[in-house]
Symmetry: C2
Subunit: 239 residues, 2 copies
């Protein structure tokens, strides 16, 4: 498998993202992978490697710049405050990854999806709300709120899938209902998969490190189910 670091500027930061793909004779579909709030660590990188093994060119994207990873949740949230306050910053960081990926000759720029975990899922949704040329967006335990739900969803060109723990305290029923209304009003092709008995970070085997099992917990079942649902959507949209 080919692996290299892609360096690019986005939102005033120097991003260091990790590109993976298998050798092939023709350009492949591309997938952006945005990490949890902590920054680009092993979790998102391992998912990009799995996507590359499936035949995609996958870019695991830097979030905080310079490949910075923080371990403390409060520190991570602090770093994201400017992005919460101004979604154009979130979109700019995501768009930098999209431009870097689609600039590659190995990638078919007409077949690109974006996925993400936790805040990375939000980034993928924000990239779609900005009107990016994406065929599919998948958010895993991704925050669903946005600054302008009445207007921006009309820009979405991608088919959207969000995979959510039904007991996730960070993505409650009200937030889900707001997202549903946003997608419906804009006529988006959207799906929401709800997993019972499941909370935040269900895709991340390292979730136990947080020591908050009622809120943040790995689930092998929900991880497998959501990964399969993503592949089904990619089969629809990236083939």
């Amino acid at each position: 498998m080919h692996h290299e670091t892609l360096t690019y500027q986005a939102d005033g930061l120097t991003m260091k993202s990790q590109l993976f793909f298998e050798p092939a004779a023709t350009p492949r579909a591309g997938v952006l992978v945005f990490p949890e709030a902590f920054g680009l660590g092993e979790h998102a990188i391992s998912r990009a490697e799995r996507l590359a093994a499936l035949g995609y060119a996958a870019l695991a994207c830097d979030l905080h710049g310079d490949g910075r990873v923080v371990d403390d949740l409060q520190e991570a949230i602090g770093l994201l405050q400017p992005l919460f306050a101004d979604p154009s910053k979130t979109r700019a960081r995501a768009a930098g990854g999209l431009a870097a990926l689609t600039a590659r000759a190995e990638v078919d720029a007409s077949r690109v999806a974006s996925i993400g975990y936790c805040f990375g899922g939000t980034m993928s949704l924000e990239l779609a709300r900005a009107g990016a040329e994406l065929k599919a967006v998948v958010g895993f335990h991704s925050g669903l709120g946005t600054a302008a739900p009445k207007t921006d969803a009309k820009n979405i060109k991608a088919r959207v899938l969000v995979c959510i723990g039904a007991d996730d305290p960070m993505i409650d029923a009200a937030q889900r209902a707001g997202f549903e209304a946003e997608m419906r009003d804009a006529g988006v092709d959207w799906q929401m998969h709800l997993y019972g008995g499941t909370v935040h970070s269900f895709t991340n085997p390292e979730a136990a490190k947080r020591n908050m099992p009622d809120a943040i917990r790995y689930s092998a079942e929900a991880d497998a189910r959501s990964w399969a649902a993503m592949q089904e959507l990619f089969g629809e949209t990236l083939s």
Copy 2:
């Protein structure tokens, strides 16, 4: 493919159900298929045939007795009134199918699932709520209400998946929320997949015959997505 009519008594009716399986050296996992409210017609039978082609022994189950199929929606609803009033009748009809299927030497009775469409999905859920030995239940545009949500869900042994059109006027947000609470309180392994822009009967290519497109409409995308989700759950539970 082997095909035969299985005749059995249930809820005081003579049921004529359709069994399908491919030849195999050892017993197969079994799947019950319950039809829409109109009775056992081409739609549920075709799904049983597809399941048999996938390697399952599939029983497309009679609903009204004597293989009766009605074409008029109001007539179908009228026939179901006694079942709405007394869920034990619904459960008895479903249990008859389960007993008939698992009595067959070709079926591994320890690996059985139940699926259904519209009222047939409700039948599958009611069979699970009655404590039946099922590994998985899948309801497609299935009514989610039940007579005793506070108690019966505790009997569920199956993993449950319901696939619902987000704009289905017959399964509204309040009904979905009630089901979510029922499953959560009982600690069931459950999932709900919501499909945007999708209404009732999304799996049935004949839905247009009803001439109620705002309420009852086929969706090739939601049909394919829900079928794939069912297969994923069967991979988990029936292998």
